[in-house]
């Protein structure tokens, strides 16, 4: 009997992905645990391990295919000694199913028809293997079985899998548990399509780009954003940072951003009403401040999470953030490292941006946009003076965080930033 290799779901939110490349050839002997292919999801590149052993008798979906729906058969394994030709017989379904949109196979062709690039994901025509009990629980929970990865024999979905899974939100208004991808970018004006006339290059949307687009559109369209801006003097903070880094010596240097993460986490502890998410049934108030930190990567943005930042020291935060950012850039983050979180920090200060308002990244209740720290004239005790000032703007979800609460959060944050020693209290 041939065993199908199915397109795995590497994260609960993944519905499709790009089969970047096969690392084995047809005819190769593979053992359970061998890395056989690479898959690019909406946020990361992941290695696929074989669950069964035998001979890879057929590759059904070639490397470089985009929009491969989760659970699509991508290859066939036959037992050693079994005629490879018999492999096709038991799996007519797999062959008959449009395994992948063919047009997308040639992503390099600049003239690839845009229609093909944006072809809808393959519909879930193929059979999802799940136990009757798992099916029923999934139905009662409103769970799409195609989104669930099975842990039973041959990848069958069993009760434990659906019990562990969370329902997917149809719209951003209901944060999907805390599995939301954390991605922020300033909205990009969409170029009106001008077929025929203007010259253009079509850059196929990869998984990440599509996720960025979908989530930010949903967020901006459904979350009632409001914005509060405050100036923070950061001379004390810079002095403290300098002292600390002199102490650290060779270790990871603490950045201003690390101190902002810490200050935001502590401010959220002081104003717990702001550390919360909206759902239709209830406001979820979180026990810890899990701060998502935006990292620019090629082709998009990803926001790995510093969990329970309120209890972590600056050195820990610095170390973790640097490690997460490095792995984010090489797209080697594990889903649990960028999914969830309770609040976001986005910093464009290094680009000289003085002030900006960011789009909330659901299910977070808010996002703090950090501008550049620069010397500005300030009035102190009636006299003009010079101070290093950083402007921050809070975008808050009004369903969860009312104006006064948002202002309270910013005030607490400003106090911690301006008197950084109080972070020790």
């Amino acid at each position: 009997m041939a065993t199908q290799i199915l397109m795995p779901a590497l994260s609960p939110t993944m519905t499709e992905g790009t089969l970047t490349k096969w690392l084995v050839k047809e005819g190769d002997v593979i053992k359970a645990g061998d890395v056989i292919a690479e898959i690019e999801t909406d946020k990361a590149t992941m290695e696929v391990e074989a669950v069964d052993e035998g001979i890879l008798s057929r590759i059904l979906v070639p490397g470089g295919t985009e929009n491969v729906a989760v659970n699509t058969p991508i290859g066939l394994i036959t037992e050693e000694g079994e005629a490879a030709s018999s492999a096709a017989a038991p799996a007519p379904k797999a062959v008959a199913t449009p395994a992948a949109p063919q047009a997308a196979v040639a992503p390099a062709a600049p003239a690839a028809s845009p229609a093909a690039v944006s072809a809808p994901p393959v519909s879930h025509g193929e059979r999802v293997f799940a136990t009757p009990l798992a099916r029923r629980i999934a139905r009662d929970k409103g769970l799409d079985l195609a989104q669930v990865q099975g842990s039973g024999p041959h990848g069958r979905i069993v009760k434990a899998d659906v019990e562990a899974a969370r329902p997917q939100a149809p719209a951003a208004a209901v944060p999907s548990g805390r599995t939301g991808a954390a991605v922020i970018t300033p909205p990009v004006p969409s170029t009106p399509f001008a077929p025929g006339s203007a010259e253009f290059t079509a850059i196929p949307n990869d998984g990440m780009r599509r996720t960025v687009a979908r989530r930010l559109s949903e967020a901006k369209a459904t979350i009632p954003h409001y914005y509060l801006t405050v100036d923070c003097e950061i001379d004390n903070l810079l002095a403290m940072r300098k002292t600390l880094n002199e102490q650290v010596g060779g270790g990871t240097k603490i950045s201003v951003n690390d101190m902002i993460v810490k200050a935001l986490a502590l401010a959220l502890v002081k104003v717990p009403a702001a550390n919360a998410s909206w759902t239709d049934e209830a406001i979820l108030r979180y026990a810890h401040a899990d701060i998502a930190v935006a990292v620019a990567v090629e082709g998009g943005l990803i926001t790995p999470i510093v969990r329970a930042a309120e209890v972590k020291g600056l050195a820990t935060i610095a170390g973790e953030t640097r490690d997460l950012a490095e792995r984010a850039r090489s797209r080697k983050l594990k889903p649990e490292e960028y999914q969830g979180g309770t609040f976001t920090v986005s910093n464009l200060g290094m680009f000289g941006v003085r002030q900006f308002a960011a789009v909330i990244n659901p299910p977070h209740g808010g996002i703090l946009a950090i501008g550049a720290g620069e010397q500005r004239p300030v009035v102190k005790n009636g006299a003009l003076a010079v101070a290093t000032v950083m402007t921050v703007t809070l975008s808050a979800d009004h369903r969860v965080i009312d104006g006064a609460v948002g202002a309270g959060l910013l005030a607490a944050f400003k106090r911690l930033i301006e008197e950084p020693l109080t972070m020790l209290l």
Binding site: A32, G33, T131, L133, R136, I137, D140, K159
Partner: protein
Amino acid sequence: MAERFDLIVLGSGPGGYVAAIRAAQLGMKAAVVEREALGGICLNWGCIPTKALLRSSEVHHLLQHAGDYGFEIGDITFDLARIVKRSRQVASQLSAGVKHLMKKNKITVVEGEGRLLGKGRLAVTRNDTTVELEAPHIIIATGARARTLPGLEPNGTSIITYREAMVPKTLPKRLLVVGSGAIGMEFASFYAQMGSKVTVVEALDRILPVEDEDISAFALKAFTRQGLKFHTAANLKRLSPEGTGVVAEIEAGGQSHRIEADQAILAVGIVGNVENIGLEALGVKVERSHIVVDEFSRTGVPGLYAIGDVTGPPWLAHKASHEGVVCVEKIAGVAGVHPLDTGNIPGCTYCLPQIASVGLTEAKARAAGHEVKVGRFPYLGNGKAIALGEPEGLVKTVFDAKTGALLGAHMIGAEVTEQIQGYAIARTLETTEAELMATVFPHPTLSETMHEAVLDAYGRAIHI
């Protein structure tokens, strides 16, 4: 020079020998160490010889009811020695079978008493000669033995445990069975069918205490009709040899009773064989005479595992075997190995009537917070049961009212031990009531009661 293996199993019971075979199948060089007969308690002193005895008592029962089926038989006599001999022959035939299986799978059998010398090292002693074996993986499968209570020590003649009870020389006229679990009830049933006057004493408030309460109650009635006597919620104050027999004093229901009997069988649980095998020096955790292990039978000492009775309840041969397979597959790195789900292990008692169950009792299901739907169907409503002349029986199902999951199934009656696997498969495949209802059960069979008990849980039973 110590001989080297990939895997050594200490003990050749259904846990140990099955683990060794699975290891051999996976290409490992395996050895089994055994101080007695291959096959362990199960084949030699447990499951198998008792089933042979019980078959004799069943035949006796049928002969006694031969008239019901139109036969005229004169006095029925039997030769206890031949009954016991048959039971022993069955046991040795199967033990020889295990020997053959070891050979076929190229598993080395080392006879003698095994003892761990350290990580990955085992000494086996036999008649003052000791050999040393080495392997990166060692599985302890030393099984268990009858538990004795303080002041209740067996003497081998009038106060005995299962070992002696399995090879009686004479039939006790009056037998006292202490403990009404599976082992106690099987012996109580055997001896009663053969003609002993049997009294059963149970400390808890019902017999077969691990079974569903409805089944316990049904069994109590059935056995009482057969002439067995029961004292439940009974406190055994004293049990001592007197003359050639025994005298017991018990307190039950606020009253004291004095019970005289020719023999008493102690069936009050079992304790793991954890002594003198070198566990202490390695720091293996032992709690209440059982080795503590994780879901893949790992002891916490790298390379040392334990399976079967020595790791605790349920003390069942098929649990031991299955644990052995899972443990070895995990060691071999077989993909997709899942721990054994103890909720899916069926338990059977081969008394007359037979008892079988899998999953949660109704009370346990409710205690676990399930809203339940309960179905019951009596053998009286089943054509085959009537045709067989076996109208005494009950099948009970417990479903989760919300999800339709089969939480438990409980059966008493003819051949239920052969039928329970149907519900075990249903549970393993995670079927709901819908698939069980849609399954076509052949007519006429006893198994139709299983279908009806499912239908009944949803108010749809046909023949009741």
